[in-house]
């Protein structure tokens, strides 16, 4: 399937584009949503990722799998968007809270308000962690990738991924505990 997509993209076939979007579109969107904490930004991240895949397909040399390559581009693009989002936050502080993860059914203001009031569980807590821990936690828990696969995607040694996972897990636990404490007390 991967080989079919790659050769199709290299030949500029429309079916390959459809296959790629069907296979990885929603999956990358979910990962990007969890990393950025914002579905709208996540959609932009994935669109950008897929356009980059099309632009750079000739330079893809099978050193890693297509999936690893797409994850890598998604993570790097999300990184850029998060940096960009910081400026938006500074310029528009009032919209900041609405910009937090709003879920798929938050198109109308009422839904947005309800979700804002309820909070969004783990993703909301995850959003408070530094990005380097967030991406490892998302790839491990949400995408169910192995340490080795994450190490290939992020181009970091397995030891470093393990320590980030452990530290991130501790930080997330503390964040969730803090949130529960606020909610109950």
């Amino acid at each position: 399937m991967e080989a079919e997509i790659i050769s199709g993209l290299k030949k500029g076939k429309e079916e390959a584009v459809a296959l790629l979007v069907d296979k990885y579109g929603d999956r990358m969107l979910r990962a990007a949503s969890a990393i950025t904490g914002d579905q709208q930004i996540a959609e932009e991240v994935v669109q950008d990722t897929f356009l980059q895949v099309c632009k750079k397909i000739d330079s893809f040399n099978n050193e890693s799998s297509l999936q690893t390559w797409i994850y890598r581009i998604t993570i790097n693009t999300a990184k850029n968007y998060i940096r960009g989002a910081w400026f938006r936050k500074v310029s528009n502080v009032e919209n900041d809270e609405i910009a937090s993860f709003s879920g798929p059914h938050a198109d109308n203001p009422e839904d947005k308000y309800i979700q804002k009031e309820e909070g969004s569980g783990v993703i909301l807590s995850l959003k408070k962690l530094p990005r380097k821990y967030r991406e490892v936690l998302v790839l491990y828990y949400l995408e169910e990738l192995s340490i080795k696969e994450i190490s290939n995607i992020l181009k970091q040694p397995e030891g470093s991924i393990k320590s980030k996972l452990s530290r991130g897990r501790t930080m997330l636990k503390a964040e969730i505990g803090k949130k529960r404490g606020i909610e109950s007390g």
Binding site: L9, V17, V21, R30, V46, G103, L142, K173
Partner: protein
């Protein structure tokens, strides 16, 4: 995997369960990707024409690094040329130097003669 790990995994998966592209957005994305693939297969001159048209008809993001590098090279080159030509002005070659001789003849008849000075005579 302990209970906390299972909790994170399950919560994350539940929270993003419904996150997906609408069919309309998927179609738009596919269209944009197909357009990108077509651009990739363009001839270099067709690409250059398209980029120029985009530049001409819209706001276009220009990477300032190569522009700055080109400007710096041009500045250094112009500076070097100007400096070199100034050196030439200060060091005239002998064939451009003339000696003025005023000869007064009978009846206050004055003649001015310019005699070229040969190289090595200065």
């Amino acid at each position: 995997m302990d209970n906390f790990d299972k909790y994170i995994k399950q919560s994350l998966q539940e929270e993003v369960y419904d996150v997906q592209f609408s069919s309309e957005k998927k179609a738009k994305l596919q269209q944009a990707m197909y357009g990108e693939l077509k651009k990739r297969r363009e001839k270099w001159w067709a690409r250059a024409v398209r980029k120029f048209k985009t530049f001409w008809s819209s706001t276009y993001e220009i990477d300032l690094k190569p522009v700055a590098a080109a400007a710096a090279v041009l500045f250094i080159f112009t500076g070097a040329v100007a400096f070199k030509s100034q050196l030439n002005v200060n060091a005239p070659r002998a064939k451009n130097v003339y000696m003025q001789q005023v000869v007064t003849g009978p009846g206050d008849n004055t003649k001015i003669i310019y005699i070229p000075v040969k190289e090595g005579e200065i």
